[in-house]
Symmetry: C2
Subunit: 453 residues, 2 copies
């Protein structure tokens, strides 16, 4: 349940009447992301004014939620003092995310107005590869020593906690910043003030390394129900933490990438409405071209049987139906298997069980489809028994072939190190098309000896 929506017109009207205090009252109870979304609807020239009206403590939080075009526009209107204030109130990981989207001149201006130690931290995170744990992390976390008491820990949290993105998981390190253990604020609250951290900390900490893939990091969150995960460098020194909200964003982004790959699109990171026509074209044309060229095989097969088709032209009327059904049957299983692979529900050792299962599913599906089609072909299309039998036998065979190819190809792709998601329906459709046409003409020439072929 969200609150009643503040309407763009109301804000603009109040701005017109210069009732700035009323605008502030309207906005002050909203969540930062909702303010950012409202501002996105506004005429660009009103943005600097509106941003200055925001209660100071909300300005940075709202800035973080804006898209990068708006951020860039605002930064260009900021005075040096304003820029400095916003930067100081932002969490480090958000600053880094923003900088990654900005043109070089804006980045220079931002870095000029951050403190030297902050600049070092920002540059530290910027050097990690995109999509690595290092690039997702923040260096703002609560660290404790093992000889502290619970009381000491609370004092430290109270003193340093304001600037930390999460304080609920605290990490215990030694003098070399090696990760020794973790203790949650829940543990701290449920122990006595004079208990020693070493006695209550959890020494077996699951952690990420800076170069680990972000997808793997997100999976750890969803598997272990963490709210934060520590990140260590090659020497096992604690360098940062990743919080659950960033893991959720990665999960969403990775699901989108998988969906795009399955639909024969090269993955993008930008939202649909922000991608230009040329960018969209570039992401779609490679697969369209490749799949079009591989459809050459189907033309070759049909040309090979041209004489047969000329004799029994009726056969060509059912090619689309056979091909579509094969494509759909193959797509169903390939997409299921690809999703199961990315959720780690199946592994390579399951292949025999999967093939055996899909074989039985294919027999059931193929049988049902063939039976329904047989009746239709005889009763409605008034075909001869022979032609109907050719079509229905092909249908069963096509479904079986499609299901088997659809389940094995993605797993094999993963086995040899390819991304299984690109082995989805479009790719499998192309293969199944060729195979089903061959089956069709083989069965037809066998059952109608006059056809030749």
């Amino acid at each position: 349940m969200e609150f009643e929506k503040v309407r763009e017109e109301d804000v603009l009207k109040l701005l017109e009447e210069r009732k700035f205090a009323d605008v502030r009252d309207l906005l002050k109870d909203m969540e930062p992301i909702d303010i950012a979304e409202l501002l996105e609807e506004m005429p660009e020239e009103k943005l600097p004014l509106l941003f200055r009206i925001l209660p100071k403590e909300m300005a940075a939080d709202t800035f973080v939620e804006m898209d990068s075009d708006m951020q860039e526009y605002l930064i260009q209107t900021f005075s040096d003092k304003e820029l400095k204030e916003v930067m100081e109130d932002m969490y480090l990981d958000d600053t880094v995310d923003m900088i990654e989207e900005m043109p070089a001149n804006v980045v220079r201006r931002i870095l000029k107005h951050t403190s030297p130690e902050m600049r070092i931290k920002i540059n530290g995170i910027l050097q990690y590869p995109k999509d690595s744990a290092g690039s997702m992390m923040t260096t703002e976390y609560v660290d404790l020593r093992k000889d502290m008491t619970v009381q000491d820990a609370f004092t430290r949290i109270r003193r340093t906690g304001v600037d930390k993105e999460t304080i609920y998981t605290c990490y215990v390190v030694n003098n070399n910043r090696m990760l020794l253990g973790m203790v949650s604020v829940k543990d701290l609250l449920l122990h006595n003030y004079d208990d020693v951290i070493e006695d209550i900390m959890e020494p077996n900490v699951i952690y990420a390394t800076t170069l680990e893939d972000q997808e793997h990091v997100a999976e750890q969150f969803s598997k272990y129900d963490f709210i934060a995960l520590p990140v260590v460098d090659m020497e096992q020194r604690l360098v940062g933490i990743i919080t659950v909200d960033d893991a959720m964003d990665v999960m969403e982004q990775e699901a989108t990438e998988d969906i795009e790959k399955m639909a024969a699109i090269m993955p993008t990171e930008k939202p649909y409405m922000k991608t230009s026509v040329f960018e969209t074209y570039k992401k779609r044309i490679p697969w369209l071209l490749l799949l079009m060229i591989s459809a050459t095989f189907t033309s070759m097969i049909i040309k090979h049987y041209e004489a047969a088709l000329a004799t029994a032209a009726i056969l060509s009327a059912y090619i689309p139906m056979l091909m579509d059904t094969g494509g759909n049957a193959g797509g169903q299983v390939s997409v299921t298997v690809i999703r199961a692979l990315s959720l780690h529900d199946i592994e390579y050792s399951d292949v025999p069980a999967i093939i055996w299962k899909e074989l039985r599913v294919a027999l059931c599906c193929g049988g049902t489809l063939a039976a329904a089609n047989f009746v239709k072909l005889l009763v409605f299309d008034r075909l001869s028994l022979t032609v109907a039998a050719i079509i229905c036998l092909t249908l069963i065979s096509t479904v079986i072939v499609a299901k088997i190819i659809g389940c094995t190809l993605p797993i094999l792709a993963k086995r040899v190190g390819f991304d299984p998601a690109v082995m989805a329906s479009p790719f499998i459709t192309t293969i199944v098309d060729a195979v089903s046409l061959m089956i069709y003409f083989r069965i037809a020439t066998a059952m109608m000896p006059g056809l030749g072929g």
Copy 2:
């Protein structure tokens, strides 16, 4: 980075030698979900023994992570006392999730061994519709009163917090349990012990209502970066909370459902390997049948032009290529639009902008494909200029039609209240097939007057 994997054989060997203390040592540092996954690999008859070997405080946590078949098997081997102990250590929402998967006789036995007040709570949650906020929530949360001090709040958390799934967000209620505000443990820690809750609480709380759809709840988590969300009933009384780990599970499940629908499968909740052949068949056959029947149109169109095809049989050789390319082009855009709809990146008002964009993308893609194909048809296939032109003109038209149908159909479906995901590639392929065949034959009969048609 996970820890070194404990191997099944090692555990079985130690069990064989009756070195139970060593087994416990092996398992005690593992995360509950990793123990549950290890147990799944074990022979079933070893489970009760292994479960009893687990350190007592880990037993319930591990039990929660098991799949329902294993849980059912174990419950049947539990003594009444063991069952009671495990139930007492489980969080309420986990207990309810488990009960929902159990056969009636097991449910009766479970309910017999829970306390009367727990039974009332379980039945309360069970009555909410599946996939509603009410069915996701737990009733175990920390509630505060507005006249408490920070010191009082900590006392309350210390006294009652052990059994709560999260203590980091506390909810302020009045005597009628109406939700007045919330305060995070971070706020509590950063304020003085004698500050009063009313002065530091956030009175504008975003909440869910019991009947709200779980998908919408998960979206709130990902939008606002919450770690918990309160759930209120029709009278605005606080009845429970939902935690971020459950929201992540829902996100994952909803992404899987969308992917399944896009591949013309009716969504399942069970993992692939746990679904029986018949269940899989039932989820796949309806769409296969429907799509097969709608492919009747393509047969009708081809039959209508049978005479033309008999004259120029070469035309039929390119039907599969044209249809596949149309299907792929339409699938690319429909899947992109469906995903953008479910991430709320686009709305109904964006339709003109989307169509305009897709029209330009279609011209670029169609042009590239036609040019590449034209060269291939003349040089490699040695077709006449006329036939090559027919095929390439059809190709451009098909790509344009496919892109426009692919972007409008899912948005229109959503507009009239259908699920846009079922309007994905297979459905659009079927429509595009029919349209592209009509275009093909129209262009062919126009450019080759001898064809008739």
